[in-house]
């Protein structure tokens, strides 16, 4: 447990020392959401209808931006070799990376989402559901993204490949995430959508660290 805390602390420290990655992701999220009103026109009804989907898609794309660095950095400078040979299981090493990604990238995205929703004039009841759905859905993004990042180690232009690999797998998160917000606006119960999102996060947290660790081992051979 101490070793896991050390690994998590290191990831967080690295993310804070080099804040460009997380900041880029949040800036991308904000800009992408702001661009939509310019593209589709300022009709309040139309914007309100597409707001949930727009925010979710923008958040998914933004989260992809900062996934590659924690994995590729350790691969390129030899840290993964030593991490693979440390007493801490490699699946916990990558789990620390995924958790750090969620804390440093996804939490800021979740925090920014209600402000952007305001900009898109999301309907009254949707804000709380949006934040809850984002908070429950983004762990799956970090977890599955961590598998993709490990699989693309050593590939040229891995960042693009990473998005191509991971985004299709995140379609269920997008569907239930946006559906939760729509349901809240329509006055329907939100609970089942949130529970599906939580279930996906739990399943991903059970499976993804192992898959990611196996991919890292493969890359090290």
């Amino acid at each position: 447990m101490n070793a896991f805390a050390a690994a998590l602390g290191r990831e967080l420290r690295l993310a804070i020392r080099e804040p460009g990655e997380a900041a880029t992701a949040v800036m991308f999220f904000v800009l992408a959401a702001i661009l939509f009103p310019f593209g589709v026109g300022p009709e309040a009804n139309l914007l309100a209808r597409i707001a949930a989907g727009v925010l979710w898609v923008a958040a998914l794309l933004a989260a992809m931006l900062s996934l590659e660095r924690p994995f590729l950095g350790d691969y390129e400078d030899g840290n993964f070799e030593v991490l693979a040979l440390s007493p801490l299981a490699l699946s916990l090493v990558v789990a620390a990376k995924m958790l750090a990604h969620w804390l440093t990238t996804c939490i800021p995205l979740v925090a920014a989402s209600p402000l952007l929703a305001l900009l898109l004039d999301l309907g009254g009841g949707g804000y709380l559901a949006l934040v809850a759905a984002m908070a429950l859905g983004t762990p799956t993004v970090s977890l599955i993204g961590g598998v993709g990042a490990a699989l693309t180690l050593g590939a040229r232009r891995g960042g693009v490949l990473l998005s191509i690999l991971v985004l299709p797998l995140l379609v269920p998160v997008l569907i239930f995430g946006a559906a939760a917000v729509d349901a809240a606006i329509a006055g329907l119960p939100v609970r089942q959508h949130l529970m599906v999102l939580a279930a996906m996060a739990l399943a991903a947290s059970a499976l993804c660290p192992w898959a990611s660790a196996a991919a890292v081992r493969q890359a090290l051979e």
Binding site: N2, G78, S86, P87
Partner: protein, 242 residues
């Protein structure tokens, strides 16, 4: 290398190891054995498989056939246990440039549940004055060696040989926590005379304490009593394979 050993206590051994990289045979039928306190020096031309052999010894790479054993138990059976008992220093230094010298060391020590060895390791490898400097400044491309001097102000890169200091930090990592088996891939590359002496001293101290050490090198090492293994002798194409 079939050393007839009088003592049965062979700690670390490999039998009939075959290694293939891509579709090329690197070596085949390689054997080695080390007892507690032994040093094995790997030599051989470039591409003969010194690094591959060390990676096989570490469990990072699986041999095509053959087995590596620690006290008779196959290392492939319990990779985590094997990892816990070894230190590996490869070609890459595994130094995080955004962290300070001490933070780099502290992390590796914490992974192994160690807290006390850090200052000693910093001293041993002449890094103590730089403990709080971000590791990226170690590669500032300065030519002159750091004399024992007061710590330089963090804003100004210290006067250092570029890669050598990072190499020292990579090596200090292994001195900061205890593990019975050291696998060092060309540890003295990019080090100056003093750094090389520090490596030799660390290896001698490690082995005096009953540890095993395998070192690959292309230069002469000052390690009395070290066994030598010429990896190039086991070079084999498919035709020569047993």
């Amino acid at each position: 290398m079939n050393r007839a050993r009088s003592d049965p206590a062979i700690a670390f051994s490999g039998r009939a190891l075959d290694c293939m990289r891509g579709d090329r045979w690197v070596f085949s039928g390689l054997e080695f054995a080390l007892g507690a306190g032994d040093v094995l020096v790997l030599s051989g031309p470039n591409g003969s498989g010194k690094s591959s052999l060390l990676r096989i010894m570490a469990g990072l790479l699986a041999p095509v056939s053959g087995a590596v054993q620690w006290h008779g138990a196959d290392i492939a059976d319990d990779r985590d246990a094997h990892a816990a008992r070894l230190h590996y220093v490869g070609h890459l230094d595994a130094v995080k440039l955004a962290l300070t010298v001490a933070e780099n060391l502290r992390f590796w020590a914490a992974l192994r549940g160690e807290r006390d060895g850090i200052d000693r390791a910093l001293d041993e490898f002449g890094l103590a004055p730089l403990a709080d400097l971000p590791a990226r400044f170690l590669s500032a491309g300065q030519r002159r060696r750091l004399a024992p001097a007061p710590p330089p102000p963090p804003a100004r890169p210290p006067r250092f040989r570029p890669a050598g200091q990072r190499r020292r930090l990579a090596l200090a990592r292994i001195a900061a926590s205890a593990a019975p088996l050291w696998l060092l891939d060309e540890p003295t590359v990019a080090l100056d005379g003093e750094g090389v002496a520090a490596v030799h001293a660390a290896i001698r101290a490690h082995c005096a304490g009953g540890g095993c050490c395998v070192v690959s090198t292309n230069t002469a090492l000052d390690l009395a009593g070290a066994a030598a293994l010429d990896v190039g002798r086991y070079a084999a194409g498919p035709a020569v394979r047993p």
